[in-house]
C-alpha cells in the first residue's frame, strides 16, 4: 500500500487529568474526502490542533506524505501545504477582504519584502481577483472583513484556504452557524475543492457529512470508535449506541444512507 497522505501513530494529548486524544492512529488515503464525526468533547478539534502544530502532543508521531512533522511550528507545517480553518471563524478583521486573501497567498513565501509597494505585485493581485470570483465575493472586495456577515466570513475562510494552494485541507465545522442557503453554497464549494485537494472535515451536520464524505471516522473520548464508508458507519451498531443513540438521529442516518 502506498504512503498515506496523513498518518498518525499513537498520538496522545492530555490536559491535566483529561486525555483529550488517546493513542490515536489514523490514516488518510489520498484523493478521498474524509469526515470526522463524534460527540462534543470527543477530541476532534484537539486532533486538528495537534496536526497543525497549535498544540504539542504528549506522545506519538504525525507524518505528512511520509515526512515526520511532529513538533514542527504552525507556520512550518502550513508551509508544507497543510492548511486549516478554525471552528470559530477566524480571519483578519481589520483588513479588507482583498488584503485577507492577498496576505494569505503571500504568507508561504520567503521573508516578505520590507519596502516594496505591495499593490504593484500584479501576479498576486490577479490571483486574488480570480479567487474572489470563485467564492463569489468580488462585490465585497474592499469591505473590512470584520464587518461581513457570518456566512460571508465563512466563505472568505474557504477562499483563504483556496488561495493558499493547500495539499491537505483541514476544515473544522465549516458550515457551523450558516443558514441553509449558505450551507448549500459552502458544501458545493467543498465538493469542488475535494476533486483537487485532500480534505479532512469535522462536521456536526449529519446531512452534510453523509452527502459529501467518501470515508467517515467516528471519535469518542479521544479514540477512534469506527472508521469506514458512510454505509458501514450508518450500519455500525456501536456507532448507533455511542453516538447516534437518539431515535431522531437514527432516522437521519438511515435516510442519509439510503439517499
Amino acid at each position: 500500500m502506498s504512503e498515506p497522505v496523513l498518518r498518525t501513530e499513537q498520538l496522545t494529548k492530555r490536559f491535566g487529568g483529561l486525555t483529550a486524544v488517546d493513542n490515536l492512529s489514523f490514516r488518510l488515503a489520498g484523493g478521498r474526502l474524509h469526515a470526522i464525526i463524534g460527540p462534543n468533547g470527543a477530541g476532534k478539534t484537539t486532533f486538528f490542533n495537534l496536526i497543525s502544530g497549535l498544540l504539542t502532543s504528549d506522545g506519538g508521531r504525525v507524518f505528512f506524505h511520509g515526512r515526520e512533522i511532529t513538533g514542527l511550528k504552525p507556520h512550518e507545517i502550513s508551509r508544507l501545504g497543510i492548511k486549516r480553518t478554525l471552528q470559530i471563524k477566524s480571519v483578519f478583521p481589520r483588513l479588507s477582504v482583498v488584503d485577507n486573501l492577498w496576505i494569505t497567498s503571500q504568507a508561504g513565501r520567503r521573508f516578505p519584502h520590507p519596502f516594496r509597494d505591495a499593490s504593484r505585485d500584479r501576479a498576486s493581485r490577479e490571483k486574488v481577483e480570480r479567487t474572489l470570483e470563485q467564492i463569489g465575493m468580488s462585490s465585497l472586495a474592499q469591505r473590512q472583513a470584520g464587518t461581513l456577515s457570518y456566512g460571508d466570513v465563512a466563505l472568505l475562510e474557504i477562499g483563504m484556504a483556496l488561495i493558499s494552494e493547500p495539499r491537505l485541507l483541514l476544515l473544522d465545522e465549516p458550515t457551523c452557524g450558516m443558514s441553509p442557503a449558505e450551507t448549500e453554497r459552502a458544501v458545493e464549494k467543498i465538493c469542488e475543492l475535494a476533486r483537487a485537494i485532500d480534505i479532512v472535515i469535522i462536521e456536526h451536520d449529519m446531512e452534510v457529512v453523509f452527502a459529501i464524505a467518501d470515508d467517515i471516522t467516528v471519535m469518542t473520548q479521544g479514540a477512534i470508535l469506527a472508521s469506514g464508508n458512510p454505509e458501514e458507519i450508518a450500519a455500525d451498531e456501536r456507532v448507533r449506541e455511542a453516538y447516534l443513540g437518539g431515535e431522531e438521529e437514527e432516522d437521519y442516518v438511515e435516510e442519509a444512507a439510503h439517499a
Binding site: 497543525s52 507556520h75 502550513s78 483578519f92 496576505i103 503571500q106 504568507a107 508561504g108 516578505p112 505591495a118
Partner: protein, 319 residues
C-alpha cells in the same frame, strides 16, 4: 503643507524653531511606539531604553572614543538596534500585558544600571560633550552649531524615517505585520513566522527610537540616564495613542499637541501635566482611534454625505 516646515526658520523666532525641532524628535520616538502598538499590536512601555542607547551611543562615541559625526551617529543607532534585538528575543515571545511588563522591566534594569555606573554614563548628571566641529555629506558641509542648519538636519532625518515607515506600511512585510496584529493564531496557520516577524518589527522600532535618541543627544549635546526612565516611555505611549495609533502621522499630531501645551502653559501654571491627563482621558473615551482617527472618520462621513447628495440630485434630474 509639506513646504511649511522647511520655511519655518525664516518666519519665526529661535525659541519656537527649537521647540519644533524637539517636537520632531519626540514624534519620531512616539512613532516607534506606534509601529509596535498600531501596526503589530504590541504595547511597549520600554522604548526609552532604546532612546537612551541612541543617546549614549552618540555621547560616549564622541566623548570617550573621539568619533566624528557620522560614526557617532551610527554607533548610537546600532547600539539601540542591538539592544532591541537582545531584549526582543525574550520580549516578543509574550503579548499584551505580559509584553508591556517585560519591556518595562528591561528598561528599568538598564535605567538603574545607567544610574549606578557613573564612570560610563555620568548617572543622573549625564555626559556633556562638545559637538564634532563639522560634518559633510557629499560636498555640503554644515555645523549643528548653526541653529538653522541643525533644524534642517533634524527635519530631514525625521522626514526620512517617516518616509521609510510609510514604505514599510504599504509593503508585503507591513501587511504581514497587520495580519499578526489582527489575529496571530490565524497568521501562523497561513504560514507567517509570527515570532520572527514580531522580532523584526521590534528591532525596527528600536531603530526609530535609536535615531530619535541620537538626534536628541546631538540637539542637546548631552546624554543622561534620566531619559531612560519609564516616565519617558509612558509619555510616548500617550502621545501615540492620543494622536492616533495605527496612523502614520498620529504620533506627530499627539506629540505636537502635548509639547505646545507644555510650552505655552508651563510658564503660567506649574500643574500643566493636569491638562495632559485630562486630554488623554477625553481622547481615549471619545476618540479611541486618536485625533487622526477621528479626523479620518469625519472625512469618510463627509465623503459619504456628498455621495448621497449627488445620488439624490441625480434621481431628481432623472426620475
Amino acid at each position: 503643507m509639506i513646504s511649511v516646515p522647511w520655511s519655518i526658520p525664516a518666519l519665526i523666532n529661535g525659541f519656537w524653531v527649537s521647540v519644533i525641532a524637539e517636537i520632531l524628535i519626540w514624534s519620531l520616538f512616539a512613532a516607534s511606539v506606534n509601529l509596535l502598538f498600531g501596526y503589530v499590536g504590541l504595547l511597549s512601555f520600554g522604548q526609552a531604553l532604546y532612546f537612551g542607547f541612541g543617546m549614549y551611543g552618540v555621547a560616549i562615541g564622541i566623548s570617550d572614543f573621539g568619533l566624528s559625526f557620522w560614526p557617532a551617529f551610527g554607533l548610537g543607532v546600532a547600539a539601540a538596534m542591538a539592544m532591541a534585538l537582545i531584549t526582543g528575543i525574550f520580549a516578543v515571545r509574550l503579548t499584551w500585558h505580559y509584553f508591556a511588563i517585560i519591556t518595562l522591566v528591561f528598561s528599568l534594569i538598564f535605567y538603574f544600571l545607567a544610574l549606578t555606573n557613573k564612570w560610563l554614563t555620568g548617572g543622573d548628571d549625564g555626559i556633556n560633550f562638545t559637538l564634532p566641529p563639522t560634518f559633510s555629506l557629499g560636498g555640503i558641509t554644515g555645523s549643528l552649531a548653526d541653529h538653522t542648519f541643525q533644524y534642517f538636519f533634524i527635519l530631514a532625518t525625521v522626514s526620512m524615517c517617516f518616509w521609510l515607515m510609510h514604505r514599510l506600511i504599504c509593503s508585503p512585510l507591513g501587511k504581514a505585520l497587520l495580519a499578526i496584529r489582527d489575529n496571530d493564531v490565524r497568521a501562523s496557520l497561513i504560514g507567517l513566522n509570527v515570532y520572527l516577524l514580531r522580532l523584526v518589527a521590534f528591532v525596527m522600532a528600536g531603530f526609530l527610537a535609536g535615531v530619535a535618541g541620537a538626534l536628541f543627544a546631538l540637539f542637546g549635546r548631552y546624554a543622561s540616564a534620566t531619559y531612560m526612565f519609564y516616565h519617558v516611555s509612558g509619555e510616548a505611549v500617550v502621545w501615540a495613542i492620543v494622536g492616533g495609533a495605527g496612523t502614520l502621522f498620529g504620533p506627530i499630531v499627539g506629540t505636537t499637541i502635548f509639547i505646545v501645551v507644555r510650552e505655552i502653559v508651563s510658564s503660567h501654571w506649574e500643574h500643566h501635566s493636569l491638562i495632559v491627563g485630562v486630554v488623554a482621558i477625553l481622547v481615549v473615551i471619545f476618540a479611541p482611534k486618536g485625533v487622526v482617527g477621528l479626523w479620518n472618520e469625519w472625512l469618510t462621513r463627509l465623503a459619504e454625505r456628498i455621495d448621497r447628495a449627488s445620488i439624490k440630485s441625480e434621481l431628481r434630474t432623472n426620475p
